[in-house]
Symmetry: C2
Amino acid sequence: MKAIYLDNNATTRVAPAVVEEMTPYFSEYYGNPSSMHTFGGMLGKKIVEAREKVADLINADPDEIIFTSCGTESDSTAIYAALQSYPKKRHIITTRVEHPAVKNLCEHLAKTGYRVSWVPVDREGRLDIDYLYDHMADDTAIISVMWANNETGVIFPVEQVAHAAAERGIVFHTDAVQAGGKVPVDVRKSNVSMLSLSGHKFHGPKGVGVLYVKKGTKFAPFLIGGHQEKGRRGGTENVASIIGLGKAAGMAKKELGSEMDRVRGLRDRLEAHILENIPNTLLNGSRENRLPNTLSVSFEYVEGESILLMLDQLGICASSGSACTSGTLEPSHVLRALGVPFTAAHGSIRFSLSTYTTREEIDVVCEQMPPLIERLRTMSPFWKKEASCSIL
Amino acid sequence: MKAIYLDNNATTRVAPAVVEEMTPYFSEYYGNPSSMHTFGGMLGKKIVEAREKVADLINADPDEIIFTSCGTESDSTAIYAALQSYPKKRHIITTRVEHPAVKNLCEHLAKTGYRVSWVPVDREGRLDIDYLYDHMADDTAIISVMWANNETGVIFPVEQVAHAAAERGIVFHTDAVQAGGKVPVDVRKSNVSMLSLSGHKFHGPKGVGVLYVKKGTKFAPFLIGGHQEKGRRGGTENVASIIGLGKAAGMAKKELGSEMDRVRGLRDRLEAHILENIPNTLLNGSRENRLPNTLSVSFEYVEGESILLMLDQLGICASSGSACTSGTLEPSHVLRALGVPFTAAHGSIRFSLSTYTTREEIDVVCEQMPPLIERLRTMSPFWKKEASCSIL
């Protein structure tokens, strides 16, 4: 049984064309770009090409692109670069709904003497922008606000915040790992100082990421070592993966228009079907400002984990909004920040689509979801109680 | 013309069997191991298998293996882990011949208030172990001594130093990036606290590394983010590359015996031919305690860069001992630490072989080297002067 893969915010299929582009650089052209011989040196040109394609995806200059090993490394590099560049500034602003790469790092920094302001979101996951403005201070070293949320898909007003930060002379970083390749990301227009991307979120390979650093932004390397990336990131270049990332960036740019509209249509179809056919179901996050591929819904009185297990038996891959994987059954910090009611937060499911998602697959999920939830609710003591309450 | 690749200390060919093992994990089994569904979750088992193979290569427990993105990240992780775990200890001991991943990091730390002791080496590249012992102090947070040098191949007495460090309760780290897969590395026997490996130095892919952390060693993550690697390294697992690394580790272990003897034989053949047939040529580093694949020689009165260019025209890939690639013509810090005479240091060449090196290839290089050096010397004003001096 071929899996119906609706967990593309976790990771995506590497496009076959990307694999084809990468493959010669494992066993055939396997040199080190830093070498003095043609065999290695010629790879430098391939990295230049990949850098141009990635730059083109986000309207950056190729010199502003640093290749890293993942989104997490990009986020750490950005935040530490600002803190090291402004050692007297001991304040960080971020949001309550960041990915663990930013959230856990900022929690760590809070323990080591930094002041962290956590900007809240409303019930629809929208940023409390006044709170953010009110907390900008003379000692704010960096503001880090994600472009789009990984769980709800809600898109934040990055451009607005970035301009406000720039006016105050504060470094602004955005984790655009979920936005890259799904919605247009323009670093010039949005005026961000630094921006993180991850290859495996838009059909590139795992193990390669990007940090955009705007010209003129003070910078300090996180990985100190060789002269690679103009001294901004040590370590032998991950040649094959960088070439693959370049290819994926080029493909993603082409698909930002009509292809993402198709994906949005499928997502909307699934959303409408679920909300219309399954009672006591809530949409998590703003319907308007959202990634085209993401749907987060909460089913009251059922456990997300149980839904996932039943979906898995049907060959449908989705993810829970809750942090099951880390061994806790608590709802995720994102859903808690949104204030999703307790009865619903535990039953949250994220469906995330991609260019490989077909209408037929969505129709299968539309068909399966209502009986699946009904069956689980039949077994739920909470649901019975609720149902009987409704009858009373 | 097929290249004769003798630059394996820079990077190696990914073994075709490794690529074969990796390939299904790009476009077919592309899930995220952290996912709750079978499609992603099954990858966890593959990572367990890879971890076991890597652990087996160095006689570690699988739980002691952390996957990173490269040797540089492993080195940074180790050094920062010790500094964070012992915040009151402000002293670091390392050597004058470390790879830039350790050297440049320690130079950076020296600027931020750490005291760094740089252990010298003698003319044969052997560690001044008394200097090291004399500098161990109550506030020494970490001693970092490479297992084998990347330029000369000289192997350091890691076991001896590690035991001395353990007696003093000092964390001991070794950058074993050049040793892994070339000589037996046994973390139990050598009693190291932490050890770095890099996949692409032993026919695995670029972009994946290993940090061994001995049970009981105080640790703090360098990349803070998700729960991956038991909270010791955030970021989505680089599944395909980790699987490839596991395969490469298994293959390397099998080749440590007779295959490395064969490589050593070829290296010795090349070395003997060059030293016997080319006058004014010096071997860099100890002949005895050396990696089986590495040969560093200095040709007096010629430029390493010119040698490399001429070799390149013949399709022979080697590397210069000097730091040409970083835009300076100064001899490398390693050759300077060895005290290679000025007239020779600029003409240093490193040949580094691998399991793919054939007798025929070595014979070609043996044949080409004497006329090549002679031709360059004929053009060299320094050589002419020397020659005329000899006549007088």
